[in-house]
């Protein structure tokens, strides 16, 4: 989920009138010094990272002077905590804390309602608090339409043995916290610890806020780069993959980079699944063969061939993987030849020299396997396609056997595509360009592009060359579904005049 940094969460709390310590965020020791000087009293320096237990890793330090704050920032910036590089530190006034509490809001799947939790003991995680002090934790479900009523919040606090003015103040704060969670559609919003200071005021000393990925589009003010769950910041390839997904609503493309900086022979496999459950199951099959995963990819929900092509290129950019494995549920509702064509285009362009095993079970699986296995005469790598009656474990064993055998064919890489003599072009919905070289098309006997075009938007002109039978604007709006048949089938069965350029912003610049 889209997690916010402590300082971002605290900014939202402040908007909703919850007090937070005075402070600011710094990206350099100098900035840390300046902020500490402005605060004008002893400060806390806190590494901004989405991890728990920062204090024990040297990620939270006290500083009595601006120079001490700069030194603490110096030590933290660039530090790696649980795979996360610290890029910012939060500098805050030290508080004179007399008591700690816990306050949180989560979405409870059992009750299908938000759950507000409060504990008169704070500091550690709520699970530990609940285990150690069950009588000091109280929770209540919230009516999603009416919101959290003040009296309910006060009763919640009362159940933990707190009365009087403190009960009233804490109740009010819980209502404010719920309003933050509801407004920003948080899967979880926690203040831990929530503290009372010597002068009787309540402050959010820490804040963890996770926004629902699916609602991020409604909260552009949060500036969330990638609305996806990660336990670390996204990699360059993950950002590239997310941009592909964000620009193409057809089907789902989910990408996690599982490894970086590995060598050929280290046993990393590019994993490219289809469907969440089937992918998880197939991933386990690869792991059982003793391989590690370079990627976890899911292209499903009837994605166009172009999306699968882009996914495959991003997988191949991860590093020198030892094999490429595709497998989903095995009995897919979607027409599987779209995925096959996407893979074929990517593997041809890469002139792939590592074994490929793809389980293409589901609708039109025979056609899909046939399309995929034609690769065998055109790239050095062995390519095997399988159907719904072949289990993920069997397919993973086949991949292991092919990697073990290490046999490659001697196939010359394709000659660079010559500049078209008589180009005919149109653009597609994701910014791709389809180009036919009518000089070559005129010599083509099969005219296979017209026949195989899934959307049936191509017709032959008077010279026997393919042209759109719809307007350029219609093609660009999505009538061309990027099925890739006019390139892939043309390459195998035509004169080679059809080509589709599908740019992946960031990929060509980022990874060679």
């Amino acid at each position: 989920m889209a997690r916010l940094h402590e300082f971002q969460g605290k900014a939202l709390l402040r908007q909703f009138k919850i007090a937070v310590p005075q402070g600011g965020v710094a990206a350099t020791p100098d900035e840390a010094r300046t902020i500490a000087a402005e605060i004008g009293k002893p400060v806390m320096v806190k590494a901004q990272a989405w991890v728990t237990g920062r204090a024990s890793m040297g990620g939270i330090k006290k500083a009595a002077t601006p120079n001490e704050a700069a030194a603490a920032a110096e030590a933290m910036l660039g530090m790696k905590v649980k795979g996360f590089v610290v890029e910012q530190v939060l500098i805050e006034e030290q508080l004179d804390i007399t008591r700690e509490f816990y306050a949180g809001v989560i979405v409870d799947d059992r009750a299908q309602a938000p759950l507000v939790m409060f504990s008169s003991v704070g500091g550690t995680g709520i699970e530990e608090i609940a285990a150690a002090h069950p009588d000091q934790v109280a929770s209540t479900h919230v009516d999603i339409i009416a919101g959290l009523q003040d009296y309910k919040a006060r009763n919640l606090v009362r159940k933990t043995g707190i009365g009087g003015r403190l009960q009233r103040d804490l109740g009010g704060l819980l209502v404010q916290l719920y309003d933050v969670a509801r407004t920003y559609e948080a899967r979880a919003a926690e203040i831990n610890p929530l503290v009372e200071t010597a002068d009787g005021k309540l402050y959010a000393a820490d804040c963890r806020l996770t926004v629902d990925d699916y609602a991020v589009f409604r909260h552009k003010d949060l500036g969330i780069e990638i609305a996806r769950e990660y336990d670390r910041p996204p990699t360059a390839l993950e950002k590239i993959a997310y941009a592909v997904e964000a620009k193409d609503y057809r089907g789902t493309f989910y990408f996690i980079q599982m490894a970086e900086d590995f060598e050929q022979g280290d046993g990393y496999v590019g994993f490219h699944g289809a469907g969440g459950g089937g992918s998880m199951m197939s991933m386990d099959a690869v792991l059982r063969q003793g391989y590690k995963l370079a990627t976890f990819v899911d292209t499903s929900g009837n994605p166009p061939a172009s999306k699968v092509y882009r996914a495959a290129r991003i997988v191949l950019a991860t590093g020198p993987i030892d094999g490429y494995f595709g497998s989903g549920s095995g009995v897919a509702s979607q027409e599987q030849f779209h995925s096959a064509r996407g893979l074929v285009k990517a593997f041809l362009e890469a002139h792939l020299d590592i074994p490929v095993v793809v389980r293409l079970g589901g609708n039109a699986e025979d056609k899909a396997v046939e399309i995929l296995e034609r690769l065998n005469e055109h790239i050095p790598a062995p390519v095997e396609g399988y159907r719904k009656d072949d289990s993920p474990d069997f397919c993973a064993q086949r991949l292991a056997a092919l990697i073990e055998a290490g046999e490659l064919r001697d196939v010359a890489p394709p000659a660079p595509r010559p500049a078209p003599q008589q180009p005919y072009s149109f653009t597609t919905v994701t910014g791709g360009t389809v180009t036919f070289d009518h000089a070559l098309c005129a010599t083509c006997e099969s005219k296979i592009c017209v026949q195989e075009c899934v959307a049936q938007i191509l017709s032959l002109n008077d010279d026997g060359c393919p042209e759109l039978n719809i307007t350029l604007a219609e093609a660009q709006k999505g009538r061309c579904i990027e099925c890739l048949a006019c390139e892939v089938e043309c390459m195998f069965q035509g004169a080679g005049g059809g080509h589709i350029d599908l740019p992946i912003p960031g990929l060509d610049e980022e990874v060679i």
Binding site: D109, Q112, R187, G277, G328, G330, A332, E335, G362, D393
Partner: protein
């Protein structure tokens, strides 16, 4: 018998004129679903597959007659409004197909459904299918495929993964085991009819002799099924597989619901809890058909 859907239920398709709406209406009509009307605001008066299209659900109800079920093929940001429209018009079962519906929108739909006695499958569901009777959503993709992959029999199927819903039913069918109904509960963290609700429906279906369940890490659904078994509210044999054993805590693998947070919803926790109450939990997905066969033989079904 079957649960949720059969050929007698009168079905509405919301978003019938869109890319998915048209394709899946063909599947549903081709498989035997009694689709009586479609709705797309602004496109009233058109027809899809010979089915009349109306501007609102209320109008569809008035013109085409009472509606038992609505299937939604609507962009995620518009789902809340479309679902409330169907519920307010009096529809008692919704199948919400789209992915990426904001979770607080689902909570609002759930609240309204509870108040009016309506239920919903999904969001992020492939749908529901009763073999040789009818289908809601997109299970099977094409009517001809659905007909060749699934056949009627004694097992109820409940799954948190769409693709796995089809593949479980298919691999069981290959071993000669047919199904009463296939339910994809949906891949999200909050769904209208989670596993425990589905197994309760199967409990009351006389033709369902056993239930086969595909669970996943994350959420409390499988633990709640175990609670039902313990309380005696679900008494039929249960065969289960839990996906996501290798997944790391805090990282989700494509299903929004499949994430382990704060030690809740772990693979080990679910397997242990289900076994404790006597369910059969297999380690390998492909062991499901054999295990189911054994269970059916034991109860003489």
């Amino acid at each position: 018998m079957s649960i949720l859907i059969d050929q007698t239920k009168r079905v509405l398709v919301q978003g019938i004129t869109g890319r998915e709406g048209i394709a899946r209406t063909q599947l549903m009509v081709g498989y035997g679903t009694h689709v009586v009307a479609g709705v797309t605001p602004g496109k009233g008066g058109q027809a899809v597959e010979g089915i009349p299209v109306f501007d609102t659900v209320e109008e569809a109800w008035e013109q085409a007659g009472p509606i038992d079920i609505s299937v939604l093929f609507i962009p995620a940001p518009l789902v809340r409004s479309a679902a409330l429209e169907a519920i307010d018009a009096g529809v008692k079962l919704l199948v919400i197909v789209p992915d990426r519906v904001p979770i607080y929108d689902v909570l609002v739909i759930a609240k309204r459904a509870k108040e009016t006695g309506a239920r919903f499958v999904g969001p992020n569901t492939l749908g529901v299918l009763s073999p040789d009777k009818a289908v809601l959503g997109m299970i099977g993709g094409r009517a001809a495929s659905a007909r060749s992959w699934f056949f009627p029999g004694p097992v109820g199927i409940s799954s948190r993964s769409g693709g796995i819903t089809s593949s479980m039913a298919y691999y069981l069918a290959q071993e000669g085991i047919g199904a009463t109904t296939l339910v994809h509960v949906g891949g999200d963290a909050v769904v209208g009819l989670p596993h425990p609700e589905v197994v309760k429906l199967f409990e009351h279906d006389p033709e369902t002799k056993a239930v086969v369940m595909f669970g996943e890490i994350g959420t409390s659904q499988e633990e709640m099924v175990a609670d039902l078994i313990e309380e005696g509210a679900f008494t039929k044999p249960l065969v289960a597989y839990i996906g996501g054993k290798a997944a790391k805590s805090g990282t989700r693998f494509s299903h929004a619901g499949a994430i382990v947070e704060g030690g809740r919803g772990t693979y080990e926790g679910k397997v242990e809890r289900l076994r404790e109450v006597g369910a059969t939990v297999v380690e390998q997905f492909m062991d499901l058909p054999a295990a189911t066969k054994e269970v059916l033989a034991r109860i003489g079904a």
